[in-house]
Amino acid sequence: MKSFRFARRSFLAAVGGAVGLRVLLDNMVASAAGATSPPRFLMTHWPVGTVRYLFKPTGTGASYTASKIIQPFIDAGLKDDMSVFYGFTHQPFNSGIGGGHESGTPMMTTGCRVPGTRANGGEHDDGVAGGPSFDQVFLKNVPDLQTPGPGYINAICDARVDSRETSTQCLSYGHATRSIAAADGGNVTEATPLLPELSPLQLYLSLFADFMPGGATDGNQAELLKAVKMRKSVLDYALTELDTLERLAPASEKAKIDSHAAAIRSIETQLQTQIDSGVVTMQGCVAPAKPDAAAVGSMGSKFDYTDDPNNPPMQKASDEALHEQVGNLHMDIIIAAFQCDLRRVATFQWSPGTNHVSFKGQYPGRPDAIYMHHPTSHLVTDGRLSSGSSSPVGTMGDLLQFLGNIQAWYNAKHAALLNKLKVAKDSYGNSLLDHTVVPYVTEVAETTHSRQPLPGFVFGGKALGMTHGSYYNFEGDLRSHNDLWVTVAQAYLGADPLSKLAAEKFEKKNVKPIEGVWKAPA
């Protein structure tokens, strides 16, 4: 895989100088130097699985007919940017520890066994990650996905969980591990959770707070560069003092101090790159609009569950308008971060698997009813209904229609976000979606927490070799959910990604890429 960054640096060396360097980032000059769009990776997630008879398309392969749930992607013009899958399983790495959503989420993103549950002062089902998540795996193993700085951003649109769980409100886990208190006593070693940002405003500030209004110019580059150097001296100082603390404190404090130091060092590499290149802000990179502080989802513990299938838990007002708005704000920031090449790896989560977001009018025959998603899903008590081939009658059928409608809602909003990614061009003039692989996955197969058969989608990355337009059904011969990740890994690592990821912890037994989804680009 050609390293575009290397091309850029050699061009830089050739040109030399200070302020004039910014021209290299002009499209034409960059292309002339042989540089091309870098790859990106965007992991996305939707909550509470699916309803089999409402999800499954008819037919397979390229000529499938979409279901009601999948249709929003077709309507948005994304058929040729999308591959649909049905029939993954978590069983090969299912330790049986932890809750349905609570362990489903780390299993989904890490492909590792959950070794235990976290003592969080609430329920005992908060599964911890047994290894890093695939966004972090790719970030570590694919140099072209790396940018100076932390290299990733994580966003979530709502963070209401049942009972103080971390697992359901986090997709991303790092390679660093730490020992924490386990829910049932003793300790468990977990991969460190990299919690997503809930507030679009905070996400914006984390990336664009220092941007000059109006973007970078010759005049302010020099000033910016001086500020970078001064900031670096502050961070150097902090590292020195952290080092002192580490020498004094017992070994148990090391993980904590190392995590702090790693955060500083990753920013230092970013600053050093800016100092070396003389360029602080990419020409043409303008910060997106600063989000309103009020545009943010909710967080905290919720426990709104009822018993009577005829009376799902009602809200007084629905969350969907805000939920959609927050999703768009987060995506606008991720897109800007990709365009400005501040980050090439991101995760985007709509909500925890125990989704407390409420929706109006999605329940059949009750246009004014406002019900919460996950609490309502638990009124379906028999998994055979949600994983059956046809609609049950009566209340159960209505509840499942509600769940299918919610999934269709999410897909429609997700399609709109993907279209933003599709029309957005990077500084090389290419569509971001073509250079970004976007898996879209869920943490349970259906509402009663089955680990299979799981649905999944992959969007984008066509310039990286992903080929789309088909529906793949392997529910008769279930495939490890890790097959989805290694399929995607080909876009970054080429054929035989498993050998390049041999040192990573995810379960590899019987794992292989799904045939036909990736083809080496010419």
Binding site: G96, I97, T117, A119, G121, G122, H124, N154, R164, E165, S179, I180, A181, A182, A183, D184, G185, G186, L195, E197, S199, Q202, L205, S206, K226, M230, R231, S233, V234, D236, Y237, A238, E241, L245, A249, S252, E253, A255, K256, I257, S259, H260, I267, A293, V296, S298, M299, G300, S301, K302, F303, D304, Y305, T306, D307, N311, P313, M314, H378, T381
Partner: protein, 596 residues
């Protein structure tokens, strides 16, 4: 009736740290099912390794019995009363913002809190670092926030140099350096050693080398101070980090101040630290008394207890009755805040459970069934009233009951679990998913039964009885209070409600006729005091230990808790006394060396 949902409706979500106390052996015996099913077997697994009696396993450390009048002897304790090793504890975001205020001014502190969406104290997790969004360690994103705050403080001080420093609007390099070093001493909450001063000095020279002016030196010097780990963490290393023993006086000052006020130590504390006068129980106790008299400390601890009891749940709880209007919701929340404000500072901790007065408005008076208050009303229309004899303290407080209500009906089991966890720090068992179909069948069979009859079934039928005897009685005793806390003598079908119960073993097993009698028994027993001791101690130590042995020590039967409970029982037994006992405890004051 009961399926997955009642578990969800239980108290687990509150800002509580349930102890790691093993379940009673009786509760663990769910037959073969529990152990066989992964996930559902968690509670069975936890109890498998323990011996029978409610109250814990064989003592591994010192023995401590709860002496004093009316206290149940809880027997030998687990672990040690020095469970913490040397550590560095990060300041929470709220503490950082309060420190910024203390170092600069309230305007900047407020701006920081708003810009970085640092949540207010009523909504915090208990204790704050236990929240996933705070955490005990900084990672890329949370560090980035502290970094931006530090940078903002630097910018602010420069922009306001004329008032924030004595260097005037255009500082000289020398004045900048003097200011930065003086700021560092205040920010680090202790004097700097020579190396630390030199390291900060180097920042200033590096800034100059990069082309920075004296103004830049001031800005980036201040930025460095707030970026420093010596600001962001408080240490608990003692004078010799390799030797077990006491914290340094300055470390004591920081620990104490952040515990009581969520803010850095004030001048008298720092002065005492400088004099080495923060070592004995008398010395520390005097500062505790002094600080507890301040509104800041009172408000902080009230808010902490508000978050402990999960009363913020009122904001979002759904109760499906038209009587639960937004005005009612807001009134309940305000009443709960005022309840804590009044009763935390009363002569007895037990008042939390027994107080019969409350400060309410006309809206709430209607729900309590009393005349609206007419005199001594505050600006919000709230005034003190005497509640009816069927009310007692937190247990029958409208907000406390309603914050945990299920949308459709109050839950005996839900309330039982709540009392068990919140007031007695007992471990609630996980819902036995393996028994779901049996539970559904029983619910169908009992659909026309009274709550009492349903509970009688649960507490007499194995395997249900194994768990339900441990908490159902608390919920039954509260059976007269509906979803919004109104007293009702009969249920929805007009059948009289009988609230008499035999309390479970962990509350002493007495027979009581009503919620108020139950409140009296709980207030007088040792379990409630031990539970409050445990929680105040956890709040004070901020970062809950993550090692198995240490966790046991800070559980409700652990030696750390029991030692404090025991010494508390010899005081006047107010909440302030409890705070003081925690503050002077060896748990707070001593550290083991830890593994190097």
């Amino acid at each position: 009736m009961a399926k997955l949902s009642w578990r969800r409706a239980a108290a687990h979500q509150m800002g509580l740290l349930s102890s790691v106390l093993a379940l009673t052996a009786a509760c663990g015996s769910t037959g073969g099912d529990g152990a066989a099913t992964p996930g559902a077997g968690q509670s069975a697994g936890a109890s498998a390794g323990t011996s029978g009696a409610a109250g814990g396993s064989a003592a591994t450390g010192g023995s401590s019995s709860a002496a004093g009048t009316g206290m149940t002897d809880l027997g030998p304790c687990e672990g040690t009363d020095v469970p913490l090793h040397k550590r560095v504890v990060r300041l929470s975001f709220n503490q950082i913002s309060n420190a910024v205020t203390a170092l600069t001014d309230p305007t900047l502190g407020a701006t920081i809190a708003t810009t970085y969406e640092i949540g207010d104290s009523l909504h915090r997790t208990f204790p704050p670092l236990a929240s996933a969004r705070e955490g005990s360690q900084l990672t890329d994103m949370s560090w980035a926030k502290t970094d931006k705050i530090a940078a903002d403080v630097g910018k602010y001080v420069l922009a306001n140099a004329a008032t924030a420093t004595n260097c005037g609007a255009a500082p000289t390099a020398e004045c900048a350096k003097t200011f930065v070093l003086a700021l560092a001493e205040r920010a680090f909450r202790r004097p700097l050693n020579d190396a630390e001063k030199a390291n900060l000095g180097k920042v200033l020279t590096d800034v100059a080398a990069a082309g920075g002016t004296a103004s830049d030196q001031l800005q980036y010097g201040v930025y460095a101070v707030l970026e420093s780990p010596h600001f962001l963490y408080r240490t608990e290393l003692g004078p010799d980090a390799t030797q077990a023993g006491a914290l340094t006086p300055h470390e004591v000052a920081s620990q104490l101040s952040f515990f009581l006020t969520d803010a850095p130590p004030d001048a008298p504390l720092l002065e005492a630290a400088a004099q080495g006068a923060l070592a004995s129980a008398e010395q520390i106790g005097a500062h505790v008394k002094r600080i507890l008299a301040t509104p800041t400390a009172k408000q902080n601890l009230q808010d902490a207890m508000f978050s402990y009891f999960g009363l913020y749940g009122l904001e979002t709880v759904i109760v499906d009755t038209p009587d639960f209007t937004p005005a009612v919701r807001n009134s309940m929340q305000h009443e709960s805040e005022l309840f804590l404000k009044t009763n935390l500072w009363s002569p007895k901790l037990g008042s939390l459970l027994t107080a019969r007065t409350s400060t309410i408005n006309a809206t709430l008076a209607a729900l309590y069934g009393v005349p609206a208050p007419t005199s001594g009303l505050d600006a919000d229309g709230f005034g003190a009233v005497e509640l009816p004899a069927n009310r007692a303290g937190m247990l029958t407080n409208l907000g406390f009951l309603t914050s945990r209500s299920r949308p459709d009906t109050p839950s005996v089991v839900g309330r039982g679990l709540l009392v068990n966890a919140a007031l007695l720090c007992a471990e609630n068992p996980a819902f036995p998913e393996a028994l779901s179909s049996q539970i559904a069948a029983a619910s169908a069979m009992l659909s026309e039964a009274t709550e009492r009859e349903k509970s009688a079934y649960r507490t007499s039928t194995p395997p249900c009885s194994g768990c339900h005897t441990g908490f159902d009685p608390y919920g039954l005793a509260l059976g007269n209070f509906d979803s919004v806390g109104r007293f009702t003598a009969t249920d929805a079908k007009g059948r009289p409600i009988d609230a008499s119960v035999t309390l479970p073993p962990n509350a002493g097993g007495a027979q009581v006729q009503s919620a108020t009698e139950m409140a009296d028994v709980l207030a007088g027993g040792g379990a409630f005091a031990a539970c409050m001791a445990k929680n105040v101690m956890l709040y004070a130590i901020a970062e809950v230990p993550d090692e198995g042995a240490s966790q046991q020590s800070v559980s409700v039967t652990g030696c750390a808790t029991q030692t404090i409970a025991s010494s508390f029982s010899k005081t006047g037994q107010s909440f302030s006394d409890l705070i003081e006992q925690v503050a002077i405890s060896s748990t707070l004051g001593q550290r083991t060396a830890g593994v190097k």
